[in-house]
Subunit: 219 residues, 2 copies
DNA sequence: TGAGATTATGACTGACCAGTCAGTCAGTGA
DNA sequence: TCACTGACTGACTGGTCAGTCATAATCTCA
């Protein structure tokens, strides 16, 4: 094995340690000493591989995030229908919740901190936007094929991302017994069919709905 | 005005300053000196009103969160149909995104940090669970009335929360021009009717969907 | 084997910050 | 005018931690 791969391997080991520590304490509460100790090296050594704590953090996050996005995209391209594509997306992400739990915890926390930080990794936002655009594109295609009714692809993609993230969160919080396959099927079913009772119309509700919709408009 | 209300007013002023500062820097990056300076008082004075930085933070978060939850619940009770109740829920929350933006930023960040912290405010989790339970109850009622098709109320409530949070996030990030009323209507429409093209069935996709569903089951 | 190169170490420094407390001062009542 | 009160102040302390660097250990190859 070449020097390159030895040092690359060590780098990855440090990144793994970083993910483990950051996912337990969060960025601010975790110290570089913690990470070094967890990796079984001295702090000075860590600084041979990463120029700062922030860089270490961002690399730990970005490498897995890129891998997950790429895998989800690949699996979606392999699938035929929109249903299957979206199912594949959810499946890949939920698999990561098992195989790379630490990474996902950091990812979810970082997502939240988007709202209270001015300087967040531009890469991260960029990647999120790209993912969103890709899914929106997939939805737009399905719409053109007549597979789904006419809806705004970008808005649907956004809602789908929201639900997807919710699944990950509930999986990680363990709020209840979590059967991944069932959750995926339910989410897909909900997204495609909604909750409305198709047999019994809700005509009697038309009036008050209009009123509430108007209130929403004023807001 | 009584002494009580003077000191209560000052307390509120400090909480406002705390929300402003925490929403810009996050909990860890913000210092108590920042908050005191923003409130126009000395640090020592702040400690007359709050026993610690953490207490200040949690109070700043909890008071608004309780108010928002209560208002949403009240508006939902006022509404008649499930559609109107859910609309009201989204409307109240989006109004908060305008009137109490700082609070919402902190709330979203805190939500994210659930995944990397062991010790989070038990109050917060409790409140989130209660909200979820309430909405799930509302959905269960609608199901009993035959207003919606048979579906798992808790899972629907979870998905609805996810979408609701997504709306808030997109509103705060300003990723695009955001017309609250339109976004609300779209979300409701999506939740009730889904995206499936009711006219053209998707029978041709049945086979491969089964296969992907199976793959998801294995995961 | 040994000299030079590479990798690793951990004590140290300077900056930061939560929380304290001795002292200040505005207001009040006599 | 003066004594008293308690809200308020901000310098200070003890502790933490990111990042550095002089030194040591290990490796490589002639």
């Amino acid at each position: 094995m070449t020097d390159q791969s030895v040092s690359e391997r060590k780098r990855c080991a440090i990144l793994d340690a970083a993910r483990a520590v950051f996912s337990h304490k969060g960025y601010s509460e975790a110290s570089v000493d913690d990470v070094a100790e967890h990796a079984g090296i001295a702090k000075g050594t860590l600084y041979l591989y990463f120029k700062s704590k922030e860089r270490l953090y961002l690399d730990a996050l970005a490498s897995d995030l890129r891998a997950m996005s790429a895998e989800a995209k690949q699996e979606m391209e392999r699938a035929g229908t929109l249903r299957d594509k979206l199912r594949a997306f959810l499946r890949v992400r939920l698999e990561y919740a098992t195989s790379r739990e630490s990474f996902l915890r950091i990812y979810l926390a970082e997502y939240g901190s988007l709202f209270v930080k001015t300087a967040i990794s531009p890469d991260l936002i960029q990647l999120l936007r790209e993912n969103m655009r890709y899914v929106a594109g997939v939805i737009a295609q399905a719409k053109r094929r007549g597979e789904i009714r006419t809806v705004a692809p970008y808005a649907v993609a956004a809602a789908f991302f929201d639900i997807s993230r919710g699944l990950l969160e509930r999986r990680l919080l363990g709020w209840k017994e979590f059967r991944a396959a069932d959750e995926i099927e339910f989410a897909i079913q909900l997204l495609f069919s909604g909750i409305q009772n198709a047999e019994k119309g809700n005509m009697h509700a038309k009036r008050s709905s209009k009123r509430e919709a108007h209130r929403a408009k004023i807001a």
